[in-house]
Amino acid sequence: DTAVSQTPKYLVTQMGNDKSIKCEQNLGHDTMYWYKQDSKKFLKIMFSYNNKELIINETVPNRFSPKSPDKAHLNLHINSLELGDSAVYFCASSQGTGAGDTQYFGPGTRLTVL
């Protein structure tokens, strides 16, 4: 009965490969997010979808493409992986997009690019 789940938990791959990370929430929330946490633990928003519509698209390489098939799922596809993409990627969800709406985070996916 995990609220926000991500698969896989660990992902090790070679440079140049294409990979996807999946996220699902069972909280009935309308808004989902992707964050990147770098090796110094700094967290930064990448994307956000509200009711399947993209509302935040930060300055990330266009090799990263989010896909939201429905409100409960937000996947992250990464093309042509580079060494610098190694990080922990967190998915989150919230009821809406109001400034006080709590975001609930998944357990993270640790991506290692060799």
């Binding site: 700094f42 928003i45 509302i55």
Partner: protein, 114 residues
């Protein structure tokens, strides 16, 4: 633009002694502020949030924070540290607008000595 500054990258306390993790914010309006905790190799968990109601906010596990507008601070405190409190703590502000974009501080690593 909104931002938060966590004044200490590392804090070490002895078990049973008080905890103080400092955070200053910058915002041109009344912000929504959060504290999240991240235990090793885990996702982020909300400790507490301030959304312009009571200035003293109580959270989970005995933590609380006080919003002080005059000092632009939102420090996190706990009267007595437990070994299980050892983790990374993030002060977070929600950016104004209709996106609920979170801006994270750089984190404070709390160590608890026996």
């Amino acid at each position: 633009a909104q931002s938060v500054t966590q004044l200490d990258s590392h804090v070490s306390v002895s078990e049973g002694t008080p905890v103080l993790l400092r955070c200053n914010y910058s915002s041109s309006y009344s912000p929504s502020l959060f504290w999240y905790v991240q235990h090793p190799n885990k996702g982020l968990q909300l400790l507490l949030k301030y959304t312009s109601a009571a200035t003293l906010v109580k959270g989970i596990n005995g933590f609380e924070a006080e919003f002080k507008k005059s000092e632009t601070s939102f420090h996190l405190t706990k009267p007595s540290a437990h070994m299980s409190d050892a983790a990374e703590y993030f002060c977070v502000v929600s950016e104004r607008g209709a996106t609920n974009k979170l801006i994270f501080g750089t984190g404070t690593l709390l160590a608890v000595q026996p």
